[in-house]
């Protein structure tokens, strides 16, 4: 073999480069890799305190790994993975919960031997302080607690060494459930109070960057916007069967590039990513180097929303006309590649089930749409806009084109507006959009809660600004209704209103599509759409 001078140089250079770039490997590192879960995300975590006003969405799921709550939802096996189960509440920091027969008093028995991360025992005063904080401090917890009829510190009483009572003035279906969401962490009050000041009695500023919990993981390091590292709390025993989580260390790292996130999991350098692009999912499944878990997000929806407060969408006939003109099946294929569960195309005239989230009788029917427009005196068409935030463009770009094309057949001239997220949200809240895309998640799944968030009130999530005079009454009636059949009847009435007035056109429950390494098991889709690392294990 003749070795040419240049070839030799090139080979040597290449070898040097690979030596330089190759990762050093030793058995100890391999061992720690097996016990470490690396979660790659596109988002940033801004606060360790989930209740902090201004915490990014991803800060909320993180907190359930660091803080225990009094109660937690269970999980059940679905066709493609586990999914949260709101009907199966279990005590987390409370080992037992007694409910009085009138439904007005809950007694929580704090788990024997439970400790905070610093080793000090969990005392009932800590729980009292945490609940007081939730209804008093300027935080996201306050509004959440109000939904469960808990608004005053007088409602929380210490009644024993390890017992605390919550008293309600009316039986509320959400009273207990609301304590299971990330906004209700239980704090180590002694630690937090050491860092509280006279201007900040609830340690809001300190807790934002420091954790004072007793959950399954403690925070090893936190570089906001870049990386959070969690370490397992080996004293933790508040899990379903008292077992420790599998992973000893969790690395949550922000990687902005969407395709890099997928490559990392496919190459085995990372174990989990929740925000892969929908368009990448079929390719990942085909290559088979990572697993995709297509779990339907039954508590989330995507929709086309109308601003019902201004013309032309203040006229219900115009909204119905558009609802009859949307090309549903094409949108389902083009926007989310058929991955999800349609909320359109039903044929009922009376709602078949007492649920706000169910397929609505909206179908593509251009003849009907034309007739409705004629009735509304807009047979000649009109000009309007369809807006969406740029972060949703992967899904909505194709959808917008289809909507524009389809509505053009009714002489409705749609201008597509894609705008920065902050601008979109601002215009939505100020009710300055006409027709737009929206995406909502409901942490709690009872229909009265969904309706109170998405179909009533002045908030951002009642995106259409719909103001049906009967809805608030129905929602309140349902929330305090103890008889199931009466509750169901009330929900049916809400569904009929929604069908009759079409403030939004529900499209579908999207699919969650978690991408996990092939050896990762136990992934659970949670209502907060984030990962609960306590569920996961490596095969």
């Amino acid at each position: 073999m003749r070795l040419h001078r240049r070839d030799y140089l090139r080979g040597a250079g290449g070898a040097a480069l690979s030596a330089l770039m190759a990762k050093h490997s030793n058995p100890a590192a391999a061992q720690s890799r097996a016990n470490t879960l690396r979660h790659i995300t596109g988002a940033t975590i801004s606060s360790l305190d989930p209740t902090f006003q201004g915490a990014t969405r991803e800060s909320l799921p993180l907190s359930v790994n660091i803080y225990d709550r009094l109660v937690s939802m269970g999980r059940r096996q679905g066709p493609h993975g586990f999914i949260f189960d709101a009907d199966n509440l279990r005590g987390e920091l409370a080992e037992r919960i007694d409910r009085s027969s009138d439904g007005l008093t809950f007694t929580f028995h704090i788990r024997e031997g439970a400790t905070w991360h610093d080793g000090s025992p969990v005392e009932v005063q800590d729980i009292k302080w945490s609940l007081d904080r939730a209804v008093t401090a300027r935080s996201f917890a306050k509004a959440q607690m109000a939904i469960g009829s808990q608004t005053s510190t007088d409602q929380f009483t210490v009644v024993g060494d390890r017992q605390l009572q919550i008293k309600l003035d009316r039986p509320n279906r959400l009273a207990l459930l609301t304590l299971s969401v990330p906004f209700l962490p239980m704090f180590n009050s002694k630690l937090a109070q050491r860092h509280a000041g006279s201007d900040d009695p609830w340690a809001i500023n300190w807790l934002k960057d420091n954790a004072a919990g007793g959950g399954a993981y403690s925070v090893e390091s936190n570089r906001p916007g870049q990386q959070v590292v969690l370490r397992r709390n080996d004293r933790w025993k508040n899990g379903p069967d008292g077992a420790l989580p599998f992973f000893q260390r969790i690395i949550i790292q922000t990687v902005p590039d969407v395709s890099a996130r997928v490559s990392l999991v496919e190459r085995g350098d990372a174990d989990l990513t929740l925000d892969a692009a929908a368009s990448d999912i079929p390719g990942i499944e085909q290559r088979g180097r990572a697993r995709v878990l297509p779990i339907t997000q039954t508590n989330a929806f995507q929709c086309v929303s109308f601003n019902v407060r201004t013309a032309p969408f203040d006229d219900v006939r115009v909204r119905k006309a558009v609802a009859a003109a949307l090309p549903y099946d094409d949108m389902f294929t083009a926007a989310i590649f058929g991955r999800g569960q349609p909320l359109y195309g039903a044929t009922w005239s009376e709602p078949p089930s007492p649920s706000v989230f169910q397929p609505m009788p909206n179908r593509t029917d251009l003849e009907k749409a034309r007739e409705l427009l004629r009735e509304a005196g807009r047979g000649g068409g009109f000009r309007t806009t369809f807006s969406y935030p740029s972060s949703a463009s992967a899904t909505v770009d194709p959808m917008a084109a289809l909507i524009k094309e389809s509505l053009a057949r009714l002489n409705i001239d749609v201008t597509v507006q894609k705008m920065p997220d902050a601008q979109f949200t601002t215009m939505l809240v100020e009710r300055r959009l006409a027709m737009f895309f929206d995406f909502g998640t409901s942490w709690l799944t009872p229909s009265d809660y969904i309706a109170s968030n998405f179909y009533s009130g002045p908030g951002r999530w009642n995106s259409s600004g719909w103001n049906n005079p009967e809805m608030p009454g129905l929602i309140e009636q349902a929330r305090y209704e103890t008889r199931q059949d009466a509750y169901d009847d009330t929900v049916m009435r809400m569904v009929r209103h929604i069908r009759d007035e079409v403030p939004v056109v529900l499209l579908w429950h999207p699919s969650h599509d978690a991408v996990v390494g092939r050896d990762i098991e136990g992934y659970t889709y949670w209502f907060h759409r984030g990962a609960d690392y306590r569920d996961l294990r490596r095969a």
């Binding site: 960057d209 902005p256 908030g459």
Partner: protein, 343 residues
Amino acid sequence: MRGIVRVSSRIAHRLLASLPALVGVLVFTFLLMRVLPGDPAVFFASSPTAGPEEIQQIRVSMGLDRSIPEQLVLYLRDVLTGNLGRSMSTGQPVATDLAQRLPASLELTLAALVLALACAIPLGVMAALRPGSAVDHGVRLLCSIGVCAPTFVCGLVLIYVFYVVLGIAPDPTGRIGAFDAPPPDITGLLLVDYALVGDFESWLSAVSQLILPAVTMALFVLAPLARMTRASMLIALGSDFIRTARSVGLPPFKVIVGYGLRNALLPIITITGVVFSTMLGANVLVEKVFAWPGVGSYALDALVSSDYAPVQGFVLLMAMIFVVVNLTIDTLYGFADPRVSLR
């Protein structure tokens, strides 16, 4: 001694003269952010239970309930005391964020610039020595490719080839491997820090993380540097003193580097300064693709979510760096050409 005093008084004079510009930038950015049609309070109150009351509370905590002139005065006062405000998306003071992220951007930019200069100057000189030759055309082709392919495309291609297919590059997720020990945090420049503490294994790991993004950025700025080198070398090589030097039989290296390149240096230094400032701010896409925790991607994220303070802080930082870079360039002129002095 007198020389040092004179130079430092000139530097002080220059810095002082740049103050009005900095204030102008500050006010302009402040107003520009307020004109943008997004309300940060609304954006950051998007929790499922956040109503008008929560939005108002966030607005008050950000000081957005005050009038714009009032906000401006408060902001200028804060900036004077070194307080650049707080970022809503990371929850940290902007000054802390920037101080943490600037070294990352600086290290990447400097590495890319050194790499680019090390390639561009020899290439430019070679092209100038034989204009119209195969070498010249080759350099032109390389430069065109570097300029035409957007940086993120280069970055993605490099990641695809070296990480996804060949598997010799480490995963493109920032400055150190996810499982490596955290850096010592002395200067923030990892290569310097690891060398200082003598941890050469980590130093190599940091270099391997740096190679791909640095090459990506270097490719992008290769063209202006190489083209400028070629052009000014052509002029220098065509001048009388080069003909004289050649005619008296000086060695070619001395003629080309000692007389030619030295005289061609002024425009190259100028363009290097411009390129450096541009790279520092404009490497957003490279930072995004390689998850590099720099200031560019930080500012972009803040801009998208109408997070005022980080954007204003970023622009101020860039303006200050621009002042310093210009000053440095002007000082370098003196070395390249003693006839030019810092005024």
